[in-house]
């Protein structure tokens, strides 16, 4: 069934074998195996969830290196596989002030350093390279935060890059090469299939996007927003360069932080000013099948009280709509609804009604956006901060919260796949069979169909039935004018790690969105569990009295369904409340809000009532769409 690439014995023969091989593996597994690797011992024809992180910065990102991050891509992958690494602050002997380790290794990861300023950062960091002694590089090393603002804010090329920019162009290739080599070296191609990596990077234009490549055939230079300022330029160049490759150079582009994108992520105009047409909408849907709904700089699902009455939207909301407002408080304003994925899904349906194609058919993932090179470090306890736009820690560990109060440890990406290989995981991304969590490893299924049986939740073959008689998360219901759609959602609690048991689940919901009279309508349906489950938590000690459950499952039929209206459905599960990272840190620092003498400088936000002391960690499935 799985074939290694054959030496050329005739072009026709190879093409035939390859085609047959791809067809056979596609038929058997639902994905095409195009890479050369050992077959995985562990196969799950009905798929299983793989947990990972697709948004990781290491020392090659300007905003990480200027904060003392020294983690290399290879070390980041080591960390993802469970090894301990040292992180800043660094002492005089170059020893790390902190060590971090995951409680459980990840299944996959991708290092996504900012492609912008790869060369400039490399020159300023590497003694011996021409330009290292320039004034700009001296400022980079001595006043790194200032250099971060100035280097990001330059409009013309730097003098130290040389008159023809050749120095920076040459240096540009070095980090990208190391990122590719590290991803290759860490990818487990043995039959154990223990860990998968993707070659990837971040394109940081006016909205931010991660580009994930399927295999090893990638552009020689990571196309950045300096040369390709709009996302359509990015797609143009990726499509163009990929056409030149010998093998398919599949990629997915994943927008993130729509919450602080100043309403640009879900805009429906092209750079030319024209409205999205069918061709561009189709291209967007193909190239951008996923959106990052949860990460370090907040949740992008929805915002409490902004275009919604959904009480659970008040989760990791960042109270401004533009990242610059993190630094200039005068610029802060509450984000509008169109910064959030929920409204983005509705905008997509509106565009579909107009041009016939939905450009925002997004599946969901979460990730960390760590700038310490620590993929998957999404636990609230002992959270070291993620750097980047957060609190810079370089030579001294500050006596303060280690991240701005509005930030959080981020989430995880979960992909439903048959095996832990690049081909299988990438196929999951393309078909949107993915979900996001805010950190815990909840096992979450969601199917929609027209005749899912009433006892589906109690049957051991739930997944079998779901695939056979419906569509999984990320799918689209076939048209049906005479029935109401039925959904089944099942969540199993995170089993936890040794000494760190998982938290019970509290309630399971389905969120339905539809367009009526030109307006977005939403309905949040509680389908299992209850908010009134007598859970209690003491924020001072963080002890929990829980009566939550290990699993939640329900079948729900949409009796209000109108087959002439487009609709989208996704499921959300929340755990019992637990202490937020900031509460844990404040307690550990001995801060007591009822005793002002304990509130030291740097810890004032411990007693900022705008931010909750407890959170309900959660997971969101990718949606299922219906189009009339």
């Amino acid at each position: 069934m799985r074939r290694r690439r054959q030496p050329a014995a005739g072009v026709a023969f190879v093409v035939t074998v390859a085609t047959v091989s791809v067809c056979l593996t596609t038929a058997a597994f639902g994905f095409a195996r195009i890479e050369t690797r050992a077959p995985c011992q562990d196969q799950a024809p009905l798929r299983r969830p793989f947990f990972g992180d697709l948004h990781v910065h290491t020392r090659y990102s300007l905003d990480a290196s200027t904060q003392g991050t020294r983690t290399t891509p290879a070390q980041a992958y080591d960390f993802a596989r469970g090894k301990t690494i040292g992180i800043q602050p660094w002492d005089a002997n170059e020893a790390p002030g902190r060590e971090v380790q995951l409680l459980r290794p990840l299944d996959f990861a991708a290092v996504t350093d900012h492609a912008e300023l790869f060369g400039e950062t490399e020159i300023c960091r590497t003694p011996g390279l021409e330009g290292y002694d320039s004034l700009m590089c001296r400022v980079y090393r001595r006043w790194p935060k200032l250099a971060f603002f100035l280097m990001n804010g330059r409009a013309t090329p730097f003098g130290f890059c040389g008159e023809d920019q050749s120095r920076c162009a040459t240096a540009d290739t070095l980090p990208w090469r190391d990122m590719r080599e590290a991803a290759e070296a860490a990818y487990d191609r043995s039959a154990a299939c223990s860990f998968t990596t993707f070659i990837a990077y971040e394109w940081t234009g006016y909205t931010h996007r991660n580009v994930i490549f399927r295999g090893t055939e990638v552009p020689d230079i990571a196309p950045s927003s300096v040369e390709f300022p709009h996302e359509t330029d990015l797609w143009d160049t990726l499509e163009e360069r990929c056409r030149d490759q010998r093998q398919p150079c599949d990629f997915v582009v994943i927008p993130h932080n729509s919450n602080v994108s100043a309403s640009t992520t879900f805009q429906t105009t092209l750079p030319s000013g024209n409205e999205l047409d069918a061709a561009e909408a189709k291209r967007k849907a193909r190239n951008e099948p996923l959106v990052e709904i949860m990460q370090h700089k907040g949740s992008s699902e929805c915002y409490a009280g902004v275009g919604t009455n959904d009480e659970l939207c008040g989760f990791e909301n960042v109270p401004y709509d533009y990242l610059g407002a993190r630094f200039v408080t005068a610029m802060r304003k509450i984000p509008a609804a169109n910064n959030f994925v929920r409204e983005g899904l509705a905008i997509g349906m509106r565009v579909q009604r107009k041009v016939g194609v939905n450009p925002f058919r997004f599946g969901f993932i979460g990730s960390t956006d760590t700038h310490l090179g620590t993929p998957g470090l999404s636990a609230e306890r002992n959270y070291p901060g993620h750097g980047g736009a957060g609190v810079p820690i370089r030579d001294i560990l500050p006596d303060s919260l280690l991240d701005p109060i509005e930030y959080n440890p981020g989430g995880l990406a979960v992909l439903w796949a048959e095996e832990n290989s690049r081909d299988a995981l990438f196929a999951a991304m393309q078909r949107r069979e993915t979900y996001a969590t805010s950190g815990p490893r909840i096992n979450f299924r969601f199917f929609g169909g027209w005749d899912l049986p009433a006892d589906v939740c109690t049957r051991p073959d739930l997944a079998d039935i779901g695939y056979a008689r419906g569509v999984p998360m990320g799918g689209e219901l076939p048209r049906n004018a005479s029935a109401a759609p039925v959904f089944v959602s099942r969540a199993l609690k995170d089993p936890g790690a040794q000494g760190h048991p998982g938290v019970a689940l509290q309630r399971l919901q389905i969120i339905k969105l539809w367009i009526e009279d030109g307006s977005t309508r939403e309905r949040v349906i509680e389908i299992d569990g209850s908010a009134d489950n007598r859970v209690s938590i003491n924020p001072t000690t963080c002890s929990v009295q829980s009566s939550g459950t290990d699993s939640l499952c329900a079948r729900w039929r949409d009796d209000d369904f109108d087959s002439t209206q487009a609709a989208v459905y996704y499921s959300r599960v929340v755990q019992d409340p637990t202490c937020r990272w900031s509460t844990l840190a404040c307690n550990q620092a001995g801060v007591r809000c009822d005793k002002p003498s304990t509130i030291r400088r740097g810890w004032e936000d411990c007693c900022n009532d705008d931010y909750p002391k407890v959170v309900q960690e959660r997971a969101w499935t990718s949606p299922i769409w219906y189009n009339p």
Binding site: L135, W143, K145, L146, F149, R154, T156, F160, V328, S400
Partner: protein, 132 residues
């Protein structure tokens, strides 16, 4: 020491060590001298690197604007303090001024009274640390 000389000494002292709030990408609370140094550095970089753009221009304008504003404001503060010393003998005034300078410098060098996120070293700095 004359009243006039005292005024200028105090003005220089305040300009070099008085923690004042300003914004330059990040909000800092540090002496105007630091703001002056950063603005000058940015100007020098613009000349040497030729890296223009609105961010750089804004940085320089913000820096220079706030430097001038604080120079003027602190001049009035120094003048106000001096007014209280007009009745003192020159020698007493000199002693008082030197004492103020010494104590202020000592406090600024020992206690991390400055908030300096632009340094990326420590959020809070002493005078010695911010000049390092």
């Amino acid at each position: 020491m004359s009243v006039r000389a005292t005024k200028w000494v105090l003005w220089v002292l305040l300009y070099c060590i008085a923690p004042v709030p300003y914004t330059l990408g990040a909000n800092e609370t540090a002496p105007p001298l630091r703001l002056f140094l950063i603005s000058t550095l940015t100007g020098l970089l613009q000349v040497t690197e030729g890296a223009g753009g609105w961010v750089w221009r804004t940085f320089i304008l913000l820096g220079v604007g706030q430097c001038l504003l604080y120079a003027l404001g602190l001049y009035f503060v120094a003048a106000f303090i001096c007014r209280a010393t007009t009745r003192l003998e020159d020698s007493s005034r000199r002693s008082l001024t030197l004492a103020i300078v010494a104590v202020s410098l000592a406090v600024a060098c020992i206690v991390p009274i400055y908030e300096t996120p632009l340094s990326s070293r420590s959020l809070y700095s002493t005078l010695l640390q911010i000049l390092y």
